[in-house]
């Protein structure tokens, strides 16, 4: 079946099998910044934004994205780079595998909650697992990033 998805602002058409998952279509098309982790919707590394909302692309049928906008971290390169500076400064980024999805979820949180509390940050990012950092550094980095974003 044929579907059309706007990915990072550019319309793309795909010929897919009906049961294909969004992650597989994206990665086959070269969007390898969308990482494949647990493949069960639990780890969050496959996160993309669908019309601005974070979803697990490993658990979302590609056919459902037909006619919608998908954003990978490539579509938020400048903002992700800014966040990455804070992550590096706080020693919160080691292997980097979770970083693309992490940046997308932080972006979505910023849109949804203007000044999140520590608890709200933890809660919003609970679905983004990181096996390197232990999360303390990430918390420090996010808080400093958000403070800087708000000027």
């Amino acid at each position: 079946m044929n579907i059309t998805i706007t990915i990072n602002g550019r319309e793309r058409s795909f010929d897919i099998r009906p049961a294909d998952m969004l992650i597989d279509v994206l990665r086959a098309a070269g969007f390898v910044e969308v990482k494949k982790g647990c493949d069960t919707g639990s780890c969050g590394v496959c996160t993309v934004l669908l019309d601005g909302t974070p979803i697990p692309s490993c658990s979302y049928f590609a056919a459902r994205a037909d006619g919608h906008e998908v954003t990978t971290v490539g579509g938020l390169a400048r903002e992700a780079s800014e966040l990455a500076e804070y992550l590096v400064a706080e020693g919160a980024d080691q292997c980097g595998f979770c970083a693309p999805a992490f940046a997308l979820t932080v972006h979505a949180m910023k849109q949804e909650i203007s000044s999140p509390t520590d608890e709200q940050i933890k809660h919003y990012l609970a679905g983004n697992l990181c096996r390197c950092s232990g999360y303390d550094g990430q918390m420090r980095a996010i808080k400093k990033y958000l403070e800087a974003s708000h000027g």
Binding site: G44, C58, S59, F61, N128
Partner: protein, 262 residues
Amino acid sequence: MEFSHLVRPRSVEEAYSYAVAPNALLIGGGAWLRMSPRSVETAVDLSSLDLRYIRQSGQLVEIGAMATARDIETSTVPERAFGNVFRNAAENIVGVQMRNIVSMGGTIAGRFGFSDLNTLFLALDAHLVLHTAGELSMESFLSKAPKVPLLIEKIMIDRGHRATFKSVRNTSTDLPILNVAVAFDAKGWRIAVGARPGPARSASNAARILGTARRPGEESIVAAARATVEELSFRSDIRGTAEYRRSVCAVLVRRALTEASS
């Protein structure tokens, strides 16, 4: 999950016409289908139907079948009617990404044993509105697997409930080892227990111990908690033994009743 065709009907009637065909499957959120080994002929995607809403209608809260777990976690409609109990029950379902796609209709239709929300719906005596089949109580739906395809249009809950939800899990985003919801309305108390690990069940005999008093005494609460453990069955799985679940159940029911009656 494999399927040969995917259709995206524009009306409930059209969706149902596909659903009754041999080897068809209705897809709500589709969140857990990735792991299913099942192979179906036609997948019926309900995402184009106008079933994503949470609204108040007179004395009822109506939840469309395509409302997501995140919708119910953040909507002010259930919060005004029932306090923060829906937020408590939804907020630990995996991560925000998954909650953005998990649908209420799919959660109920799957009769998932691990579901937190099904336990709460059961305690709140929710009723399902089914296309062509009228209303069905959550209790009936969970106690007997349907033999024919059921298309859930919406879930209805009377606003006159006071409810509390409790769960125990290894980590905040893991599936529950056990969950408990209790609710009180003019008819009395309801106690529901899920993740036993089977689908949620209500402990009606235990609830009768509490009578119709809005504030049952501590002795009644302790007795109802013990009776819940006796009334329901528990099994062991990777997350906990039956013995552990029985111990936890008594504690969670007591805490939930104490909180709901305070």
